[in-house]
Amino acid sequence: MKQIVVVSGKGGTGKTVMSACFAFLARNAVLADVDVDASNLHLLLRPEIQERHVFRSGRKARIDAGKCTGCGLCLPLCRYDALFEDREGKVVVEPLSCEGCGVCFHICPEQAVEMETQVAGEWYVSKTKYGPFVHARLGIAEENSGKLVTEVRKKAREIAESEGRDLVIMDGSPGIGCPVIASLTGTDLALVVTEPTPSGRHDMERIVGLARHFKIRVACCINKFDLNPENSEEIERWCGEQSIPVTGKITFDAAVLESVVRGVPYVEYTSNSTADEIRRMWFSLLELIDHP
């Protein structure tokens, strides 16, 4: 079983549109949305949720005002500015700042601090017309998105193995931090979707650096390449120098948006030259995955 993840560094370059097309084009895949923070793939795959699971992770401190004597021992030790003294001189926790390290819990002489496990989100196993789909929703303002990504990936692999499916296709999140690292590790190929803008180019270089750091193979897709052909050429040149195959150059096409509004993968929505470009890209990606 092989795993491919779609990433970009910069947001809004077209990861989800491409992932949904791959879901349609792939014959025997499990699909996963590993952008657990602002997931969108479900808007195109229209899943029917079969299983819901609570995601519990991380702890936060809570102080029992009845036990707190206001000695203040904990205050200077909290490195996240999460503890405050209230008007009565008791210590209170600001939950949005608490990272659950437990320093206050361990040093409180009155045992007034409790560490409470948090419900940090939900994850789902769904049925779609394109195959099984694992996705999630991280609670607002929650931490541990990386752990939720790991959970989603684990389930997707399990389904692939038990149903004899040979590919997991994952729609990733922007950035290069914790959730992106959790989506990249151990994959067979990362497709970086970029656009011919200074930000697209710069953010691509950073995500390629991250993939290399974890020794993950990279392919590149230049989306909206005709928006600035000169920049696109430069990206191609850079990819050439880095031995990164440019598997797709996709035209800026207003019809892509119509397909998003209709909630249908683009290659299913219409047949035109842009859809053909995406199809061709998919077949080159399959080649790359099959011949490491």
Partner: protein, 282 residues
């Protein structure tokens, strides 16, 4: 005044709005710009600041003195992030999991743990015209951006108008960026993706009790303006600005141009946006 610009979905135009707002305000106000999207900072491509200072961001990670350590296992027990493990005759430190909380060194009964700094990123500061410009950059391979954002935020100068360019999403890096803001501008685009993530971002701002307004970028693209406006009306979110979809704006962006450079007529719209925010806050 501290104004942050957020969105939920990436690529809706946060940096564009933040940069152009700062540029429009600089002639009549003193402005500070903080790019808190430290995983993928981009504002400097448009503001083109002259960088004068650079500061490494370190987080404290444990360093165990083997001559004092009795391998009692206390440090591994108290570490909430599994960044320490004690196996026969050795303490293993997994630096990439460490949050730098200091529990292990504080609670080691033998005082065998000291903390050493590990670099996770950098903060650079300088001037873009009259705008005081600061941005953070997470090192590639580092997982945790909040400490970089936290250090950057400590450099806020509330005597200026502070414009914060936040990262996409709604999780910890966004919360860290939005904290202490007096107002949050939510930038969306009228597509199902934009609307879905606007709901999440509005939820995060509400949870943080920060008043919000919405900027609809690429309006009439995808024909979803009505749905975004319905949502804003239902949630009592004022729509403060609308920028139409225009391939020319996208092309200017691809050349590293700001809206004000390419289309100076927008200056009054950005000044109007600021006046609207002031009105809402008074």
């Amino acid at each position: 005044m501290i104004i942050s610009v957020a969105s939920g979905k990436g690529g809706t135009g946060k940096t564009t709005i933040a940069v152009n707002l700062a540029l429009a305000l600089q002639s009549d106000h003193t402005v500070q710009f903080l790019d808190c999207d430290v995983e993928e900072p981009n504002a400097h491509f448009f503001l083109k600041p002259r960088i004068e200072e650079s500061q490494d961001i370190l987080i404290p990670i444990p360093d165990v003195d083997d001559s004092l350590c009795t391998y009692c296992g206390k440090c591994a027990e108290v570490c909430a992030y599994n960044a320490l493990a004690v196996v026969k005759g050795a303490v293993l430190v997994f630096a990439e999991l460490c949050h730098g909380c200091g529990a292990c060194s504080l609670l080691c009964p033998e005082k065998a743990i000291r903390e050493v700094g590990k670099r996770i990123g950098v903060i650079e500061s300088g001037w873009a015209g009259d705008i005081r410009f600061l941005y953070g950059r997470l090192d590639i391979g580092q997982a945790m951006s909040p400490p970089v954002i936290r250090t950057l935020k400590k450099k806020m100068d509330p005597s200026r108008i502070v414009v914060i360019d936040a990262p996409p999403g709604t999780s910890c890096p966004v919360i860290e960026s939005l904290k202490h803001s007096e107002f949050c501008l939510l930038v969306t685009e009228p597509t199902p993706f934009g609307l879905h993530d606007l709901e999440l971002a509005a939820g995060a701002a509400e949870e943080m009790k920060i008043p919000c307004g919405v900027v609809i970028n690429r309006a009439s693209l995808g024909g979803g303006d009505g749905e975004v406006r319905d949502f804003c009306a239902r949630e009592e979110l004022p729509v403060l600005m609308t920028i139409p979809f225009d391939r020319k704006i996208a092309e200017a962006y691809s050349r590293g141009q700001t809206i004000l450079e390419a289309f100076p007529v927008y200056r009054s719209a950005f000044l109007g946006l600021f006046e609207n925010i002031k009105k809402l806050l008074s």
